[in-house]
Symmetry: C2
Subunit: 431 residues, 2 copies
């Protein structure tokens, strides 16, 4: 494998025509290779103009009328329907609102209500100790409030905790640090076979690979609830609103029982513009909307989601996943061959079937400084304490030649020893 081979692979990449949909000209001019789309996706090329249009025309000219005339009032649902196509969900099943953490609070509250009603003897919410901390913080709060136990286990202990004490299994599909990916259908089936509910956090998978929340038609493999993030592989912009999904069997029951989620804000009301003093939850997923959503950020999110939907004519999520595996395999191969002897150890699964779209290497002593030195050489990944260098690969815009060049520069940063310079060890607020 040579750099020339990488260029040849780019030339025959069916997704290559989609790269122009991203505003990468200035990064390309600066020689920047961006391998952090798993943390914050690159802006779509149309986003700046679209947001300007929202500010100048919809807000500036339409003013308050745009809640109707520009469709703002249905934007949460409209974008939700688009994301639904990316995660194996149906129209009306998914809404966009708030942050992932706030959505998990709502969704987990729903799951707890169901678990307490159907199997009050089950006392455990199980998650992974290595799950994204915000999920654990929210789960801990709700477990305490409802007299349940949040049990945190290592990833290889999850299956051993799927038993008749399990109320809810809460997992992130792809681990934010290591990139380890759960077998979603298999785990969901196991949870259901044990009588538990299954919640998936799709933060690091929505837009990066095929996801079937509906179990691909197999009811036992259909998840119960899900949340996910808008600013990673969905390219929605910094802090883009997040999404929430519930299986229709649960929303149908919520409708029958007029169940209200705790963040009972006015836009989740059955008739918000009647301004009644009594709360009556909206039908289906509408109840999971709370306050007025941030329209500018929603408009940007819609542009981001469209970049992934545009792949439908180029092989879709299957092609994205195919290229993702090729990119991560190549990166692992190049780093292990070219950077051998510099202390890096693969912290992601070696088996591509168990890995998402990012790759983690551990550095025993100075991961932070090595990443800073690499960033100074124009390769942007990130560091996750205590020892992880993290590299994300977004098949819509990451090229094979980027992988080659990134590994080459990583070798340069390591071999030069420049990462030992004090300028690379000063920590910024966000790393």
């Amino acid at each position: 494998m040579t750099r020339h081979d990488c260029l040849a692979r780019d030339a025959s990449d069916p997704l290559a025509p989609l790269r122009h949909r991203f505003a990468l000209e200035r990064s390309d001019e600066q020689g920047v290779i961006y391998l952090d789309g798993n943390s914050l996706g690159v802006p779509p090329a149309v986003t700046a103009d679209r947001v300007r249009q929202v500010v100048e025309d919809e807000w500036g000219v339409g003013l308050i009328r745009s809640w109707n005339s520009a469709g703002w009032i249905r934007l949460s649902q409209r974008i939700g329907d688009k994301i639904a196509r990316l995660v194996g969900a149906g129209p009306g099943e998914l809404i966009v609102a708030d942050s992932t953490s706030v959505n998990l609070f709502k969704i987990l509250s729903a799951a707890i209500a169901i678990a307490k009603a159907d199997s009050p003897e089950r006392r455990h919410i199980v998650s992974e100790r290595s799950n994204f901390p915000s999920d654990l913080y929210i789960a801990d709060t709700l477990a305490r409030a409802h007299g349940l136990a949040l049990t945190l286990v290592d990833e290889d202990e999850v299956s051993g905790h799927i038993d008749d004490g399990l109320a809810i299994l809460l997992l992130t599909h792809v681990n934010y640090r290591t990139g380890r990916m759960h077998r979603m259908a298999e785990v969901t089936r196991a949870a259901h076979a044990a009588g538990a509910l299954m919640i998936w956090d799709l933060a690091h998978s929505a837009g990066a690979m095929p996801v079937r929340l509906d179990g691909g038609g197999a009811i036992e493999a259909a998840a119960d609830f899900a949340v996910g993030c808008g600013y990673k592989y969905l390219n929605g912009g910094p802090g883009a609103p997040a999404f929430a999904w519930a299986h229709p069997r649960h929303t149908a029951r919520m409708d029958r029982e007029a169940w209200r989620q705790p963040l009972s804000g006015w836009l989740g009301h059955a008739a918000p513009f009647e301004f009644t003093a009594d709360y009556k939850p909206g039908m289906g997923m509408t109840r999971f909307i709370c306050g007025t959503p941030p329209i500018l950020s929603l408009a940007a999110l819609e542009c981001g989601v469209e970049t992934v939907l545009a792949a439908e004519d180029h092989g879709g999520l299957a092609a994205i996943r195919h290229k993702s595996i090729a990119l991560t395999e190549l990166f692992i191969e190049l780093v292990e061959s070219r950077c051998a002897g510099h202390g890096l150890a693969l912290a992601s699964p070696r088996d591509a079937d168990e890995r998402g779209s990012h790759v983690a290497f551990a550095h025993p002593t100075d991961g932070y400084a090595v990443m800073q030195a690499l960033i100074a050489r124009g390769v942007i990944g990130d560091f996750r304490a205590p020892d992880i260098l993290r590299f994300g690969f977004t098949p819509l815009y990451t090229r094979f030649v980027d992988v080659w060049d990134a590994a080459d520069r990583l070798h340069g940063a390591l071999a030069s020893g420049e990462w030992r310079e004090s300028r690379f060890s000063v920590r910024a607020a966000v790393t």
Copy 2:
């Protein structure tokens, strides 16, 4: 009073030089008079360019680095400090995040925790039946969850419910329908004298008048908690993030007791980038941040807040309030004199001291259709069920001549009888 007199008042208005800070050229060209800034403020002239800069430069070029280099990670606090100057709060006391409803959920949870600890015998949360419904929905949910009673009373019954059963008094400073304004210091003193906590919703007052959450230095008149909205008189854009404030005596106690608010998301953690599995609340108001905030919408909000801060060199909030009273007095006078006999009845307090910056008239049978006919004549107010025509006056951009012309067109719409045409009675989703 003639139209010429109104033009003269505009010519001598000390706030007139600030109107160019708003993107009103196209509305002016179209002859649109916008009297709905109490629902959605007009875009500042700089917002479109600022948001473009965030998308193209901070997000597009800075990419993930902008969390540090562009200061995104402190944006909630930076804008919070600016809003604090408008509501009588100090630096570090106010944060911007989420929606007003979500913030009320956090803040009211804090108040309930304090009330239960200090005076468990108090069982009542009191609010007004006519408060904005979302506040009541959130309060109802939390009251149920904590075994308290939400008692809703008419506005003239509030003082009668300030007694030794009162745990928390939750009021909106200016009523969203009628514009009735509470005497904030007086009500707060009464609540405190009775041993209760005082929460203010500043949705219809922040940016429209002087507000002293700190009681102007008198501890008995200092509020306990507050929330407010970014997209009304703060001109932050549709669905702009909202704000939350707690008195420093309460955050100091939360710090001592390591109290966690229920929406325990990662950015409210004491050290979010250590990614620990255990939640440890951040100090002070930081704990009230939850998930990652929507940066594009925050950037627009900051532009909006700056338009109000710009008034500091033109008499500040006192001048804004002075003009607000003059505008609303003029509108009431003109409507009552020119539209007499058409069934409109003032639904706002006649005494300016008891009125915020919007004016409501009730129409006995056809308020919706009358408002639609008026909008067709280029005057944008709104309708609030069942019978209220609502007109908001934003002193930073509403002119005296606008008031004259609006009343003139309202008279035209009523006198022509065109509001009886069926085209004006078809309801849109949002009215």
